[in-house]
C-alpha cells in the first residue's frame, strides 16, 4: 500500500519483541563491530564498544547468540579464549544496520541543528 508497511501488523507479530533487541543501542554497536572486525573476543569487544559494562556486554552477547545473529566459539585453552562472530543471518541484518547508520551519519547534523532551533522557541 503506497509502499508503506501497515504498522498494525506490528501488534500481532513479535516485531516489537524482535526490534527491542535488534534496535538496542549496544546490540547495534556490537553487530557493527563484528561486521568490521570479523572475529572479536570478549575483552576486545569491551574495548571497542566503549562504555559498556561486563554485565551488559555479556547479556547482549547471550541474547544476540540466542536470536542467531552471532556465534560464540569457546577454546578451552589456558587462559580460556572465546571468539564471537556474525552468522549469515547476522550479516544480513548488518546490511540493514549499515544503511541505517549511514542515514544517521548523513543527517545527524540536521538533527543537532533542529534541536537548537527547537530550544529557541
Amino acid at each position: 500500500m503506497f509502499g508503506h508497511i501497515d504498522p498494525r501488523v506490528a501488534e500481532f507479530c513479535p516485531i516489537r519483541d524482535v526490534m527491542a533487541l535488534a534496535s538496542d543501542k549496544w546490540s547495534i554497536l556490537i553487530i557493527l563491530y563484528l561486521g568490521y572486525y570479523p572475529i572479536l573476543r570478549f575483552n576486545q569487544l569491551k574495548k571497542y564498544v566503549f562504555g559498556i559494562s561486563n554485565k551488559v556486554l555479556s547479556e547482549r552477547l547471550k541474547n544476540l547468540e540466542a536470536d542467531g545473529y552471532i556465534v560464540r566459539e569457546l577454546f578451552p585453552e589456558v587462559p580460556i579464549r572465546v571468539e564471537y562472530s556474525l552468522t549469515d543471518f547476522g550479516h544480513s541484518y548488518l546490511e540493514k544496520l549499515i544503511e541505517l547508520t549511514e542515514w544517521v551519519n548523513n543527517y545527524s547534523d540536521v538533527i543537532i541543528e533542529n534541536r537548537k532551533t527547537y530550544k529557541k522557541k
Copy 2:
C-alpha cells in the same frame, strides 16, 4: 572499506545519541503510523500505538518534534485539536524504518525458531 562502516566513527559523533531516540521502540511505531496515516491526533496515536501511556507518548512526540521528524499543529478550537504529521525529514527516515521492519518481518520466524533451539541447549 569492504562496504562496512567503521563503527569507531560512532564514538566521535552523535550517532549514539541520535539513534537512542530514532531506534526507540515507541518512536519507531509513532513514525510508522504517521507514515501510514499521514495526519494523526494525540488520542488517535495513543489508540494505534497500543500500550503507550500519555506521559511517554507526549514525551516522544516532543522529542521527535525537536529532532525534526514530525510537526505539531495546534488548532485552537473547542475542543482543542492537535495534528501530528511527518516532515520531509521524517519521511526520509520512514523509508529506512520500513526497510528495517520489513527485514524483521521476513525473519522474525527465524529468530523465534533460533530462540527455541537455543533454550534446548
